[in-house]
Symmetry: C2
Amino acid sequence: MQETPAVLISEVGPRDGLQSVKATMPTAHKLRWLDALHAAGLREIEVASFVPAKRLPQMADAAQVVRHALGLPGLTVMALVPNLQGAQAALDAGVHKLTIPVSASAAHSLANVRKTREDMVAEVRRIVALRDERAPGVIVEVGISTAFGCTLQGAVAPDDVVRLAAQVVAAGVDEAGLSDTTGMANPAQVRRLFTRVRAEIGERTGAAHLHNTRGLGLANCLAAWDVGVRTFDSSLGGLGGCPHAPGASGNVVTEDLVFMFEAMGLRTGVDLPRLMAARDALRAGLPDEPLYGMTPEAGLPKGFTQQEALHG
Amino acid sequence: MQETPAVLISEVGPRDGLQSVKATMPTAHKLRWLDALHAAGLREIEVASFVPAKRLPQMADAAQVVRHALGLPGLTVMALVPNLQGAQAALDAGVHKLTIPVSASAAHSLANVRKTREDMVAEVRRIVALRDERAPGVIVEVGISTAFGCTLQGAVAPDDVVRLAAQVVAAGVDEAGLSDTTGMANPAQVRRLFTRVRAEIGERTGAAHLHNTRGLGLANCLAAWDVGVRTFDSSLGGLGGCPHAPGASGNVVTEDLVFMFEAMGLRTGVDLPRLMAARDALRAGLPDEPLYGMTPEAGLPKGFTQQEALHG
């Protein structure tokens, strides 16, 4: 495990997952779960969302969670911020990376953050200015949500996505990724759209955030990998989805995603048995929530070792 | 739906699925299920296995099932035969296509058919001779099982798989496909192995029979498509697995597979709403069996039509 990982798995369960479920995970459980994810080798985790506690009581302890996560060596501590106020709070808490959702669908943008797309780009510009002034070392990412389709509006024009990527990069963000918020992406589309976005913004192309709504999650990740994407969002046990996209659910399962890449001989830096063990910490904090994942159920193949998988 | 499908979905549920579950589906239910699969547009179905009824009581009505299937217009009626005796019975029943499992793993071959790999190649030669003599229009396929790994033996050498493919083609079979019997395949391996097999036996390369044991089913199908495979085995509701490969289970789900290809703009000839409806017929015949599939659960995306998907 000395080599640099070929793939960065960005775990989103503690934010995307927890904010999608009704129950609130007690803070002490969140911290133990973060410890377990870190112990498995995950080195980027979206740990919280900085939003008014009235709107999302699950995230009321965001600052406390960030403080704990900052003590985990080598971890990039990321938080979601929907606006300038959230960014201020996240920077106050000391995060390493901000992620801002900007919807490519006009309808979803209004439903999710009550702002137009243009207003969101302006807000991104303000957040970048704040970052530049207060914490120039902090990375700012935009996740372009509903990039592959929207349950409210239907099709989303690829031109809109590419233009939005260019706009947020012009606004100063370090990375712009694409999110299949509604689980409508297919591998051909993933290849086309990421190829176009990379042609537009090059190395500022960020993570693929893909869902498993219709079972295509890993196929879509493979498609994104094929066209040069190297950062993938996923959540342990597939926890999470999008509350404002009716019928959509199911993040890509971290356990299956790591297994896929490791079996292909691509290093993720994540230890599979420890990753499976991290499910216990998640289950302890959310005992009533169903967890997904085929690899945990089947176990690792006979004779499978992560070091040897390259030669398999 | 006038165009020639770009992909052939070969439905294996009525054979592979039914012989993997404990319950026996009553014959009348099998026939209604076949009708529903055919009505959805499936044009190749593995309808039965010709094995002694003592060993597999689920398949005791194989000849009757074949007779019914022969009445469905445009359908290629396929049956699995493990040996010459089975082939005789299947040809008596009037099938259009035989599929013979030949294991690339020495240990799995003995466990599954109580024969060495070499004995199986000799048996294939005898089956081809019988076909040539009695029913020259019948297609003979070999499915090379445990091609990507074996739960009994562990790794399976790619050289063994390629050699076996060449041997069965030399023995006169029309097609040799690769089966991930034990759910151990990964996309990189699928690309490598199908590429090698195609280099060896060219257009005689048959179906990809991939499992979803660790969630990689669709990603592996995509990988096979990428290197030229055009026939894919799957089962409605993901029914089935391999009883002699402990811990292995889960055929690729036909519903999700068809959705993936159609969403990519690749025609399968299968109508998705009718395919979902065929689940009712399966459930009626096997009320206690869990069915898999994410697309049936999520439904089709808003605005999705199979004709328009190409332009999505």
